[in-house]
Amino acid sequence: MHAHVSGRSMLEARRSAESLELELTGEWRALRFDRIDAALAAVDFSGARRIQISTAQLAILDLSGAWRLHEFIKQARAAGVEVVFKGTPPDQLRLIDQTLRGESPCCSERNRPIPLHAIEELEAPAIRSLEFLGRQSVLYVRDLIRDLAFLGRMSVTAVRGLTSWRRLRPVSIARHVYDTGITAIPIVALIAFLISVIVAYMGAQELRTFGAVIYVVDLVTIGVLRELGVLLTSIIVAGRSGSAFAAEIGSMKLNEEVDALSATGVDPFEVLVLPRVLGLVIALPLLAVIADIVGLTGGALLCRLLLDIPLTQFITRMQEAIAPTTFWVGVVKAPFFAVVIALAGCYRGLQVRDSSRELGRLTTLAVVQAIFLVILIDALFAVLFLEMDI
């Protein structure tokens, strides 16, 4: 007979002719599961016909430890080994048996037997891909209908809102003008300044080879006024406020606040969506104007400091370069961008259901779609203006 200690003293194994004696020691706790696991896995019961387990030396045996022992006993018995306890078997084993059989007394109505693993139906790959195609088509159409329903409901709410001052909720609109507009001024101004400086500088490098440095003024003024000012502002606002709309409304959905509003007889579209859309429609054009001003200032500054074009010459050249419509061609797009950004944010926010992961997914989707729609509409406007010769 020889003694063998294994698994950093979780158990002691003594082997005699045909039987194996296991003396469990120490703390058999969930937090030491790895050691228990290793110790029991190392027990070699080949050749033994009988295992005797003693728990007298155990300091603690919790449910996780007992479960591992339970598995070990099951395994040993399956291999045809007789397992007995020295003294009474621990209560925990009985509790585990009882629980796994669904016999714990506190789930009387819930202990209906259920297969642990549902059997998956096996289908031919061809049918499965056809089913996938069908399912996706139906989902797509359903999404489309839902999008249209949202737009329709939004339009109705907007029309109703515009007919009554009280339904318009001016205080709420003012808050959103502040949140999406005023607080965005620093970042919008900074980006507009930097981009116009970069455009002017890169342009000057190229134009210098033709001796046409003065055309930097055309590049900066037309570029900033027609496209860059409003487009960059919209993309920043989509990232800032589109995501904020989706997250705000989404967490209200998770918290059942939107349901609470509806139940109180308050139309969530009227108090949540409309003020955000109108607020952004007011704020975004103003931000675009600020971006234009700062962008032109940046361009003029760079021309003055690096290209030796004095301010008076910059202004003269600018007046020659731009048509009276140039400024408006840029700013007129801003309200349209504002509407798609706000609608994308609110729409995705209202779609949030069930889990925090959905909130993240739909917030991301709101920003991505807002930016995509902004650029798409910008392209449509470019075609339109080309046809109109402005």
Binding site: A30, W67, R357
Partner: protein
């Protein structure tokens, strides 16, 4: 020296100028069910948050198994946190994870268990909490209120703690589900030899499960056995246990 399982000595908590706890004392002994009662705004949640190490009290000592958690580093607190289980009032299940994954999360964080064993251990806890096996792969949003409470309990038991904190375990349940949940707590307490600390407003729960009760009044705690606390002369305690809603229960329990 043998310490009680949980000991709070001279706890002081203050928000700005508002005093919440003023030298509050509390002691929880092994294998008992200790109920914490108090009016709204008396700082039951603040007390629980202090004990769980979620916020540091202004003064006082909080000992869990004899170790003062108010003077611990976050590393030491991490070890202590593996030794107790908590259920929160709304369940606080992770909404992006299934029930099984919720139960497995503490195991993943604290122990090295291979996935197959972890699955089965999680299932054992789910069954132990009285949930059907097919609840394991459901998401919290698909569960009823009672099932959420049970799932939260299964998660609290994931690491087989000796100490269990329950924040309003039966709030929001219908009386039958609440009574069943009381029985479940008692059953688990006896089978697993748990020490249970619960915040509750439910008089049925208090009379059914608690050995001793601590009532937070005037910024400190009055602790007594169930029989003792019912006869405490403090006006709030009198109103609480002898009010309109309580009188029928007192009759039943013969105190």
């Amino acid at each position: 020296m043998i310490y009680p399982v949980l000991e709070v000595i001279g706890l002081v908590n203050r928000f700005g100028t508002q005093l919440v706890h003023d030298r509050l004392n509390m002691e929880v002994r092994e294998d008992e069910v200790f109920g914490i009662v108090g009016g709204s705004g008396t700082g039951k949640s603040v007390l629980l948050r202090s004990i769980l190490g979620l916020q540091r009290p202004e003064a006082g000592v909080i000992r869990i198994d004899g170790q003062d958690i108010t003077r611990m580093s976050s590393r030491q607190l991490y070890e202590v946190k593996a030794r107790y289980g908590v259920t929160f009032q709304q369940g606080a299940l992770y909404s992006a994870l299934t029930v099984r994954q919720n139960v497995q999360l503490p195991m993943l964080e604290h122990v090295a268990i291979e996935p197959a064993a972890r699955d089965e251990l999680a299932m054992l806890k789910i069954l132990l909490a009285g949930l059907p096996a097919d609840a394991a792969d459901k998401y919290p949003s698909q569960l009823s209120g009672g099932m959420i409470k049970r799932a939260a309990l299964a998660r609290a038991l994931a690491l087989d703690p000796k100490l269990l904190f329950l924040d309003e375990p039966t709030s929001g349940l219908d009386p039958i589900s609440a009574a069943e949940f009381d029985e479940l707590i008692l059953y688990l307490q006896k089978q697993l030899r748990l020490t249970v600390v619960m915040i509750t407003h439910d008089l049925d729960t208090i009379f059914r499960t608690c050995n001793r009760v601590g009532v937070i009044v005037d910024h400190h705690m009055e602790v007594d056995t169930l029989e003792g606390i019912v006869n405490n002369p403090h006006p709030w305690i009198q109103a609480y246990f002898h009010g309109e809603r309580a009188s029928t229960r007192l009759g039943q329990h013969g105190t």
